[in-house]
Symmetry: C2
Subunit: 620 residues, 2 copies
Amino acid sequence: MTTKNTTALLQRLRAAMKNNQYVCEKLNAYIIPSGDAHHSEYIAPCDMRRGFISGFTGSAGTAIVTEKHAAMWTDGRYFLQAIQQMDNNWTLMKMGMSKTLSQEDWLVKVLPEGARVGVDPFLLSIDEWKRLSSKLESSGHKLVAADQNLVDLVWDDRPELPSNTLMVLSTKYTGCPWQDKVHQARDQMKEKGAAVLVVTALDEVAWLFNLRGSDIDFNPVFFSYAMIGKEYVKLFIDEAKLDNAARAHLMLDADKNTEDYMKVEILPYDDIIAQLKVACQEVGKEKIWLSDRGSAALGNVVPDNVRLTQQSPLCLNKAKKNNTEIKCMRRAHVKDAVALCEYFAWLEKEVPKGELNEVTAADRLEQFRREQEDFVSLSFDTISGVGSNGAIIHYRPSKETAKTLTSHELYLCDSGAQYRDGTTDVTRTVHFGTPSQHEKECFTRVLKGHIGLSSAIFPNGIKGHQLDTLARQHLWDVGLEYLHGTGHGVGAFLNVHEGPCGISARLSLTESTLEAGMIVTDEPGYYEDGAFGIRIENVVLVKSTETKFNFKDKGFLTFEPLTLVPIQTKMLEPSMLTEKEVSWLDDYHTTCREVVGKELELQGRPEALQWLMRNTQTLG
Amino acid sequence: MTTKNTTALLQRLRAAMKNNQYVCEKLNAYIIPSGDAHHSEYIAPCDMRRGFISGFTGSAGTAIVTEKHAAMWTDGRYFLQAIQQMDNNWTLMKMGMSKTLSQEDWLVKVLPEGARVGVDPFLLSIDEWKRLSSKLESSGHKLVAADQNLVDLVWDDRPELPSNTLMVLSTKYTGCPWQDKVHQARDQMKEKGAAVLVVTALDEVAWLFNLRGSDIDFNPVFFSYAMIGKEYVKLFIDEAKLDNAARAHLMLDADKNTEDYMKVEILPYDDIIAQLKVACQEVGKEKIWLSDRGSAALGNVVPDNVRLTQQSPLCLNKAKKNNTEIKCMRRAHVKDAVALCEYFAWLEKEVPKGELNEVTAADRLEQFRREQEDFVSLSFDTISGVGSNGAIIHYRPSKETAKTLTSHELYLCDSGAQYRDGTTDVTRTVHFGTPSQHEKECFTRVLKGHIGLSSAIFPNGIKGHQLDTLARQHLWDVGLEYLHGTGHGVGAFLNVHEGPCGISARLSLTESTLEAGMIVTDEPGYYEDGAFGIRIENVVLVKSTETKFNFKDKGFLTFEPLTLVPIQTKMLEPSMLTEKEVSWLDDYHTTCREVVGKELELQGRPEALQWLMRNTQTLG
């Protein structure tokens, strides 16, 4: 990792902060958040401003530059990386340490009286803006929306906003025409007294219109906004992204008398603010619905009395997959299992030769996936970790760090893909030799948690955080733990991480209840620093289940694994499993054998089939 | 239940609402909340204003009276009772039903433009005030603090504020002189930059000064406020409550050179506002710390920039019991177990005679408790429910509803006491004949949940909500559920319900992590409407435990039952229990036999001892 020299850059930024060509009054501080205007988890190169200005490229961090200081807040995952990448102009603010000042407290400490703190209002959410603004105000300072992004000003070779052509996703995959999704949203708007819904999350726009893009790596989304009114639908996008298929899909040139006709207006991406101002003038006594994750740039346009700031209804609509989406997700997972069976069969042959490393192995896995029908891309960078590298939860192998796969260390592989019919995310931990008794105990406890969650039965109305402990309790029993959530929502050929549900102990007031049709992951783990990491991850479907009783007609739910990849029984200490756990595992392996076995035969992959047969033998 | 005629009362209240002797400008609506000025769960008769004005006496409800309307918001537990107790002047607003307007939305609907909504600011918390005020303002109305309570004006025979003499609790019970508690609070204030801490919760004042009162039934507290400054301690209380012992305890007349001397100023209860205003003038750049549950009357006095609104540090300090308190709580629970053994032994003899009902039985239980040393009072109204009455979660037997105890129905008894050395709360469900297979299955599943929670091992840093599901999962497995939390904090000779910890699925951002020394209940249940109710409740202590590993030196915790009352094994279906569960139960019964048996011998109670012996036989 190299250190970036930021002296000249910071000089230019500080000059811009007091240049009244860009700011109407001098700024005493300028905040550079990590995100983009859509609160995206993954961002495009043109939005990597914090990385550009500081050199620090980790996924999380906020930079603040004042006349004299430049400080970077990031969390424990990135302390080392930040120190290596940032030069002496920067001070690292270690988040999570008790002595570290918060951004607000630090600002209050270093700023002169009555200071002006600038930020690009597109890069803070409405809530973040409100919180920061009121904290600064209570200390006599002011948060100022700088309309021109000052980092962009000094970023000479800033990449362009991507503008890749869109892909139309037919009803065969989506199960629901976009017109019906608009109708559903309008019903929900009516319930809340909202005349306009502003859609800001990129995956929500993609889901709404049954379109997919490739503007951001791993996420099949495209830069855009949408606005649904009672009588109109507006899509804010670079029109060049729409080919004839997309134009026809959106009925842009269709006759008004066509069945299902619905008028969509295409407007430039940057017109969102102007159009929102128009909407504010037209809205009367009704509300304009903005997502709580929408940017302050939008929020500040809409007066308080007409603004409804609440989770977008599309977030939940999207999370509840329909039967077509579920069928497609199943299909994607069978294909993905084929690729993984091929991979593990191949690894068994190749690892003993001692020539494979974490990177070359992961590359081969990508190749196996590419062979599958409707493959689009990976759904995230493959985590391919040998031994101690497996203990680094967010590890990404690089040529420099890549360890060789061997017969004496555990290998953790967390990977997934985007297929036109669905998104996958699967982790398996395997040993190519003989695991130690300690590794087996840890693995077995992780598996017991995985099964405990996967086989849980729970009433409608339960939130994911209520199930998290089921995945941890067998580790806790002996004083072990893992420091990440147990599961996240998964999109249908969309983002591999999506809301509004997950399985985590973290409190979130916007978390929705689990409902049939939702798709989440089940991924407990255990990580021993410097030694090994274990994670067992399936994508699972929330579905209704029959129970002996049905208390107050609540209806009960459980999970069904969509991921169908064998779990290595060599890693188990069978005496630690209950009868119920053994029978869950045997049933799971039987399903893998039947469903994936059939596909392997169809695809003519005898080696992988033999591997599958060997690895799905029942314990019971 | 009788219906109260409120016509004349409402006329007088409405007249007061526009009488500028009491309000500077006419009020269009007046809100009457349930609570008192201290956010107490149980309230004194003088604070039962909502019950007085409406006739509705349930524990939860808010009344709003406008010029034309009178409306009452309450939840499903109380719909029937409210309809029976309120006359036609009142409209019931059924909370939890989708069509029911919230108080704010209803107000906005019925009020004329630019209306003034009055409320006694002592009866709304700071947060409630803020929320309601901003909602009303966004619709052009105004929330007004009415300094004179208008209900009190029309309540001719309103009871006096209680003024009972205080009891001093010696260090033998508290383990910590009040002076040390002041020092501890000052350290915590310093960390937050607070120069003043305002103590508003009655149990916090009682805990702080090691004093107990009897102003509110079942809660050994007294009406008061406290204010801790860097140099002073102020106690706002009717000085008549302090006898010589209390005066000496507080060193009111002591020489300044006495060891541990700390000056306490005694001020009238009503002086809190005036003194708070003085504090605001003196505070300079430091903060005044108000509890988030403090009243708006206090909150509105303190300017935003010096106000720290956050959970009181005493809340957590109080929840973590010291070794003396734990020792005393153990002792209280052994005495309580003696009373319950006597009770159940006596019931076994008496029930077959067919002459005992829910009320006479509960009265006898109270007698058994009164025989125990240091008994002060019950800690709540005994829930004594036969058959279908046991299914009413908040059931209180009355002479009119009392069912007879029989040999063919389940009997649920939830009861507790205040002893000078501790507070108890225990529920047992028993059958005096032969339970049905269904009752046994339900009981066994409740017990499996009780054991699952009680024997859980978990790391430091875990919150109670993360453990709640361990108590429910065996019911969920067959489609059953219970609609209440699993546990609550318990005071040490203080309120039977206390914060900031509990075991519940409900999200609370102020919930603290579980720590060694905390005391909570473990009380899963199952309730079949019209048939029977089951609950198994122990008070349990959070304590450190040794584990095979100790991940990142977190330290692991578990629970130890303080309640030592046998669980009826007749109610069990043993084939449904795992080996681990059987061994937990056998160990528990062995402890009951040893510890409580010894005390029964000492107290010379042979019948109860024999009953204990019969009911603590091991299964394994």
